[in-house]
């Protein structure tokens, strides 16, 4: 039964991804002009004369003068065979540039998600059980503080404090010697030493929303009759709380992966920009500003696929967790 549910969901994601790729490609075309106008602007800025024929020659060569659909088709047919096209700015195949950064982005997003859960779960339960108590207010305020403080501000202040008071280099994901080193255990440890800063920054804002959801769901479940039955069976308050209401409040909590993922990914763009992390964010931002179409398109497509996968995972987890969905 579960299998058919998963297969149905997977089949559904294919047209979904197609639509996403179309939208992402259109978004990149949205700003006026194209890569070559930006290229000309950078040249002009450094004083060089850029004449029209040179731009025209490059435009035809990159195929930028073709209609939107043709460009899109050329790009998407390439993508299906794993060739994401050429980055104009770097004169390199896009695939060389994106994979490691995407991996780090996913790693950052996952660790932030785990961090957010680790915070939101206990605090959500506590504030539901102790509704309207002082503890509930304090905990909720802390949660909202995380939400209210803009990430980029927190990142900059953390970096400044790191440099001035601790002399530590807070930016980046690796210390100097590991930056280009091949992946080894030591490199992973070094990564963990550095990753906690962006994780904390990103985690604080997303945990506030999760705390609210956990609290609301738990409040609904707490006064359900099966809780009274369990109490009548002689279960202790704590065991009872964990086994029944929390277990049921978990369902909506798990389904939040679906929407938490896209926010984590896009939220990380700004924080990564400030902390100069080697993740997808900064390069995507640069590609979007330079209208480096194929590079930006590849990133947006991958990020969307990631979020779609995230939603699929959350649906499957939900089906596993809640038999009612399995047998529907």
């Amino acid at each position: 039964m579960l299998l058919t549910y998963i297969v149905k969901r997977i089949i559904w994601t294919i047209p979904f991804l197609f639509a996403v790729s179309l939208v992402s490609f259109a978004l990149i075309q949205a700003p006026p002009g194209d890569y070559l106008t930006t290229f000309a602007a950078t040249l002009a800025q450094s004083g060089d004369m850029v004449d029209e024929q040179r731009l025209e020659a490059l435009r035809t060569r990159y195929g930028l003068d073709q209609p939107f659909i043709v460009q899109y088709w050329k790009w998407i047919s390439g993508v299906l065979q794993g060739d994401f096209g050429i980055s104009f700015e770097w004169q390199q195949p896009v695939s060389h540039l994106i994979w490691e950064r995407m991996a780090l982005s996913v790693c950052l997003a996952l660790s932030t998600l785990l961090f957010t859960w680790a915070i939101a779960f206990p605090i959500g339960i506590y504030s539901a059980v102790r509704k309207y108590s002082i503890g509930d207010y304090i905990v909720t305020t802390i949660g909202f503080l995380g939400l209210a403080l803009p990430n980029f501000l927190l990142a900059l202040v953390l970096m400044y404090v790191g440099v001035v008071y601790f002399g530590a280099n807070v930016g980046g994901l690796f210390s100097q010697e590991y930056q280009m080193a091949p992946w080894s255990w030591a490199k992973v440890v070094d990564l963990l030493e550095h990753i906690w800063i962006p994780v904390v920054i990103l985690g604080t804002s997303s945990s506030a929303a999760l705390i609210r959801i956990m609290r609301a769901n738990l409040l609904d479940e707490l006064n359900k009759p099966y809780v009274t039955t369990a109490r009548a069976k002689g279960l202790s308050e704590f065991k009872l709380l964990i086994k029944y209401p929390v277990r049921l409040a978990l369902n909506p909590f798990v389904s939040t992966i679906g929407w938490a993922f896209p926010q984590l990914i896009s939220g990380a763009v700004i924080t990564a920009f400030v902390l100069s992390l080697p993740t997808a964010g900064p390069l995507l931002l640069q590609a979007l500003l330079a209208q480096d179409m194929y590079l930006a398109g590849a990133f947006i497509l991958l990020l969307c696929t990631l979020t779609v996968v995230g939603m699929l995972v959350s649906d499957i987890l939900l089906a596993l967790l809640d038999p009612r969905i399995r047998y529907q």
């Binding site: 006064n223 009759p225 069976k233 047998y327």
Partner: protein
């Protein structure tokens, strides 16, 4: 076809003096509210004897449920026990193994280990809503096994075996597979059986049942009551049975406690209460139940004086199928036949009763008549006052609107049928306002008249539904229904949500309106006693088909169809002398 399995009815006379297991003395449970302490239970005392059933009876809001929960100290926050003692005498339990002492449960801390050791082991409890009282995401076996392993150090495997044995005890078919199934895969009756199995896990000496059968059909109710009776005889446990249905009390009670507004009104053996009631509230309760079990004199007088008119509504081979779609790929096979070729006719001034259990299609019939659902086939002819006949099944637009002005509906749940955000004037006035008959001052005047007609004070107009009791809300529903001077009223379980005492008042109100406005009723209910009181003719429905129709008295006294026999025999009679229910027979659907 109909098989009769007689059960051992316990003759009244020879009940020996049984040992007292639980004594409640001067119990007071209160809820702090904005306006001071509200005593839900006020100075209640009674005793539970091993092997005996004490029925606590009272209308909604009488505090009977809070009393039961106070015993196990699981009263919902912020309620707590303020005074009184609850003495549990453990040595006299049949197992004898327990320590020989008396524990005052009231003195124990609600969250202490002591009280928890008792919950589920010495005193077990079952609840009214089986669907939401069991966890939807844990298997039955898991929930039952949990109680066993909580109180006795037993391995998981042994606990599972015990659970299967318990499921067999409560007659759940193929217990080996049932143990791994989830609650939503069970029917109402099955779920209640599972609940009972769970409560018996540790062989408690006291079982508290908080209206366990109220939500069940009358046939299932009979089985569950029989099961509890048999388990009580086997285990010798004391049962505290909470209900508002005097018929059930008469069937199973040994002793009775009557409660009203948190106070203990009367206490005594079943014979004393039923035949020599002291307190006039008890008398009123009994009278209300007894009145219902026979046709209302007023109706009979009127019938004698005023003959029935020509048929006003004729239903011809009405069918209604709901296709149970499974997501994208709609496979034709899965179709639920709610109504299967129904033929009925309602005559002017007549009260036609429709009786059947849940799932019999009686509600769908009522809703199809008003085109809340579109029928899949057949015709519903309505003969209008102006002689024009309309087929409601296919009517559209203005024609349907005209029919809907003549045929009106009264709903079952008084809470859900009134928009909480509109005051009474707006609710009752809505049909008049919408059909443009009246507005402004004229509208207020007519609403005033209607409220007066249904016995509600004029100042009710400005008040909101949440300010009224169940009975008063039903009257508002009725006022709305008769606002457009209809000719036919479809009442869908109009009284089943009310307390017994209110039912007769509402039914009398309807009869009164029938005389004044020349109405005819289609009265849908699962409660035979209400049908006997109110309806001239009755149709019995089973799985979408009308199995029997005829004059109410003929059908009740001399049922022809097997199902009708089974249905009638399962109805508890509010007279302890002939406890027929236990000697009933069961109907296996031959077809």
């Amino acid at each position: 076809m109909a098989t009769v399995t007689p059960l051992r009815p316990k003759p009244l006379a020879q009940r020996a003096e049984a040992p007292v297991v639980l004594e409640v003395e001067g119990l007071v449970t209160a809820f702090p509210t904005r306006h001071g302490l509200f005593k839900a239970v006020d100075d209640v005392s009674f005793a539970l004897e091993a092997g005996r059933t004490l029925c606590v009876v009272g209308e909604s809001g009488s505090g009977k449920s809070v009393t039961a929960r106070s015993i196990l100290q699981i009263v919902d926050t912020p309620g707590r026990i303020v005074e009184g003692r609850i003495l549990l005498h453990r040595h006299r339990t049949s197992r004898g193994k327990g320590s020989d002492d008396t524990v005052d449960l009231a003195s124990l801390e609600p969250r202490s280990n002591a009280i928890r050791a008792i919950r589920g082991r010495d005193i077990a409890m079952i609840f009214q809503e089986p669907m939401s009282s069991l966890s939807p995401v844990h298997t039955i076996g898991n929930q039952i096994g949990e109680v066993i392993r909580l109180h006795e150090h037993v391995s998981k495997k042994a606990a599972r075996a015990r659970s299967i044995e318990l499921l067999r005890q409560v007659e759940i078919p193929t217990p080996e597979t049932a143990v791994d199934r989830y609650t939503f895969e069970f029917s109402g009756g099955m779920r209640q059986r599972a609940m009972i199995a769970m409560s018996l896990a540790c062989n408690p000496s006291v079982l508290i049942a908080d209206e366990p059968t109220t939500a069940l059909d009358v046939t299932t109710q009979a089985e569950i009551l029989g099961l509890i009776k048999r388990l009580q005889d086997d285990h010798g446990m004391a049962v505290m049975f909470i209900t508002h249905d005097m018929g059930v009390v008469a069937e199973i009670a040994d002793a009775i406690v009557v409660m009203r507004h948190g106070k203990l009104v009367e206490r005594g053996s079943v014979e004393k209460i039923f035949f020599e009631p002291q307190h006039d509230y008890t008398k009123m309760l009994l009278q209300a139940v007894l009145d219902l079990d026979r046709p209302s004199e007023r109706r009979l007088e009127r019938r004698a004086v005023q003959p029935l008119g020509p048929p006003v509504v004729e239903i011809r081979n009405l069918t209604k199928h709901f296709d149970l779609r499974h997501g994208l790929f709609k496979r034709k096979g899965h179709v639920l036949k709610a109504l299967d070729d129904v033929d009925l006719a309602l005559r002017m001034g007549e009260n036609l009763g429709i009786v059947g259990e849940s799932g019999s299609g009686k509600t769908t019939l009522g809703r199809c008549l008003l085109r809340v659902h579109d029928p899949s086939g057949g015709a519903m002819l309505y003969h209008g006052a102006n002689g024009v006949t309309a087929d409601v099944a296919t009517a559209k637009g203005a024609e349907l609107a005209a029919v809907r002005r003549d045929i009106r509906m009264i709903f079952q749940d008084p809470f859900a049928s009134l928009n909480p955000r509109m005051n009474v004037a707006q609710i009752v006035g809505e049909p008049l306002l919408v059909s443009g008959i009246a507005s402004g001052a004229d509208l207020r005047k007519r609403v005033g008249e209607l409220l007066d007609l249904v016995g509600l004070p004029a100042n009710a107009m400005e008040r909101y539904p949440h300010a009224f009791s169940g009975g008063q809300r039903q009257r508002i529903g009725i006022a709305r229904a008769i606002a457009l001077e209809p000719r036919v009223i479809v009442a869908d379980e109009a009284t089943s949500a009310l307390d017994v005492s209110l039912r007769t008042q509402v039914l009398d109100l309807l009869l009164d309106l029938q005389e004044r406005l020349g109405l005819s009723f289609i009265f849908i209910s699962h409660d035979i006693s209400v049908i006997r009181y109110f309806c001239d003719r009755v149709a019995v429905m089973y799985r979408g088909q009308v199995v029997e129709v005829g004059e109410t008295e003929d059908v009740c006294n001399d049922p022809q169809h097997g199902y009708t026999k089974a249905l009638l025999s399962a109805v508890p009679h509010p007279d302890p002398r002939h406890r027929g229910m236990l000697g009933r027979h069961r109907y296996q659907a031959g077809a």
